[in-house]
């Protein structure tokens, strides 16, 4: 597989605040990459740079993502659009006709637990429902790359597990590339082929770990195999924290 995206010695500051320092990694096509790191280290900033929404000070980004299925950290639904209108927006921008857009969205609504809320405005949704609507929008967009910023942060355990499993199945089915930020080790193990661990601000890559579990192994969160991967990540993070 050829790298879809390559980041080389990327650095970025906001004014006097260095946020990224010499970050380097790559994402292969069809792969799912998780980014872990402490709060405020620069994960969202990194995603925004890759999407071309933010400039950077030094380094190189090869093959930035033009048109991604992007879920920002705070879901960011358009307050003047209903759930369906929000979800179909990327398709609408791509010029897909109304009927196909609506079908596409309608078919996914139940998996996201949003059936019956088609015409609700964002302020009429719960926090978790907003996040799910945002995820639906990203997934439904049909973009080749999914870029998700903490996609399940606001969900309860059971709903989260259900959606994680569903997404994991979808990804391996469609062979789409996915890049996501998470603060949940379990989530990284369930969804990622590879995990990138970042240090505290200014963020640099302090470790990388491939997850070589089968789909079945991933979904059994209590199995020793799963636990081993999780533990491996945790010790990587702890090491980074001590430095």
């Amino acid at each position: 597989m050829r790298p879809l995206l390559e980041v080389d010695r990327l650095s970025k500051s906001y004014g006097d605040l260095p946020v990224l320092r010499d970050v380097a990694f790559h994402v292969d096509e069809g792969e799912s990459l998780a980014i872990l790191g402490p709060s405020g280290c620069g994960k969202s900033t990194l995603l925004r740079i890759l999407l071309g929404l933010e400039g950077y000070d030094a380094g190189e980004v090869r093959g930035p993502v033009d048109r991604a299925g992007y879920l920002p950290q705070d879901a960011l639904l358009f307050p003047w659009k209903t759930v369906v209108q929000n979800a179909e927006l990327p398709l609408q921008i791509r010029g897909v006709d109304r009927k196909r857009r609506r079908e596409e969205v309608a078919s996914r609504l139940p998996s996201f637990g949003l059936a019956g809320f088609e015409d609700a405005y964002p302020h009429e949704l719960s926090g978790g429902m907003r996040q799910r609507a945002g995820l639906l929008r990203a997934v439904v967009s049909g973009a080749a790359v999914l870029v998700l910023d903490e996609p399940f942060g606001a969900l309860d355990t059971l709903t989260r597990h259900r959606l994680q499993d569903w997404l994991s199945g979808l990804m391996s089915e469609l062979h789409r590339t996915m890049l996501f930020v998470t603060h949940d080790l379990e989530e990284a193990v369930v969804l990622a082929d590879r995990v990138l661990v970042l240090s505290g601000r200014p963020a640099g890559v302090i470790g990388e770990r491939g997850i070589s579990l089968s789909r079945e192994e991933r979904s059994d969160r209590l199995s020793p195999l799963f636990y081993r991967e999780k533990d491996g990540l945790l010790s990587m993070i702890r090491k980074g924290d001590e430095r």
């Binding site: 048109r67 992007y70 609408q92 921008i93």
Partner: protein, 255 residues
């Protein structure tokens, strides 16, 4: 919903009734002479007795107002979009815009008459000229305060400029644009009247000048009343449209 709207409309009438009462009270209690400040009764009588030819004047004014207002909405939003295109365009367009609004129309009346004639065209243009400014300013200032995070999100989805206006700038700014429209609607009829005042032979403004010149204060006030009611109607129209155009705001309106 129905009932609530009914009650709301009712309250507007209550407000108008109170004003009429106040007006009546002032003229009755202070015995203000009619040549200064006619009572509502005298005023309404003037309107009724002149209804025939006043109607023709009013019709022309309404046409001018609506045409001018329509042009203003279009021009105002267009100018706002142009200013929003870049900092440079803003800095080049804003000053002449402000300057243009500071021109005393009466002072350049001869020019207006010479360039646009004494017919309906000049009045339509004046209405548009008076009304487009609050719309343009409110729309532009609204565009400027749009949440950049939403703008970025659209960009990530590959949205172009048209998409940005359609899905973000216009809806996000709609409350502001509509506030501008309300201000503009309020001014629009007056704009037409001022235009007629500058010259012409039909319209409420003409009726007014003639009434004023022959010292018919009752007619003058009748005309003022008509102008005010027309303005109010247009305002209510915009207000109603505003409710319909921003359903997401309506639903969260608490009372």
């Amino acid at each position: 919903m129905k009932g609530k709207n009914g009650w709301k409309g009712y309250r507007w009438f209550v407000s108008l009734g109170l004003i009429a009462l106040l007006w009546y009270g002032v003229t009755a209690i202070f015995r203000v002479p009619t040549y200064l400040f006619p009572s509502p009764a005298v005023t309404v009588r003037a309107i009724v007795s002149d209804a025939g030819f006043l109607g023709r004047h009013v019709a022309i004014t309404i046409v001018e107002t609506l045409a001018g207002f329509g042009m203003a909405v279009f021009a105002g939003v267009t100018v706002a979009i142009l200013m929003n295109a870049s900092r440079l365009s803003r800095d080049l367009i804003y000053p002449p815009l402000v300057l243009s609004q500071a021109i005393p129309l009466i002072a350049i009346a001869p020019l207006i008459l010479i360039w646009f004639g004494l017919g309906i065209l000049a009045k339509v243009l004046i209405v548009a000229f008076v009304c487009f400014f609050p719309i343009a300013v409110n729309a532009y200032e609204g565009f400027r305060s749009v949440d950049p995070a939403l703008r970025d999100l659209l960009e990530a989805f590959g949205a172009g400029r048209a998409d940005r206006y359609r899905h973000l700038y216009v809806p996000a700014t709609l409350p502001g644009i509509l506030a501008g429209l309300k201000i503009a609607a309020t001014y629009s009829v007056l704009g037409a009247v001022v235009g007629e005042w500058l010259g012409g032979s039909l319209g409420i403004g003409v009726y007014m000048t003639r009434a004023l010149q022959s010292f018919r204060t009752d007619r003058l006030f009748g005309a003022i009343l008509v102008v005010m009611l027309l303005s109010l109607c247009l305002f209510k129209l915009v207000d109603g449209a505003s409710r319909r155009l921003t359903p997401w705001m309506e639903r969260r309106d608490h009372d």
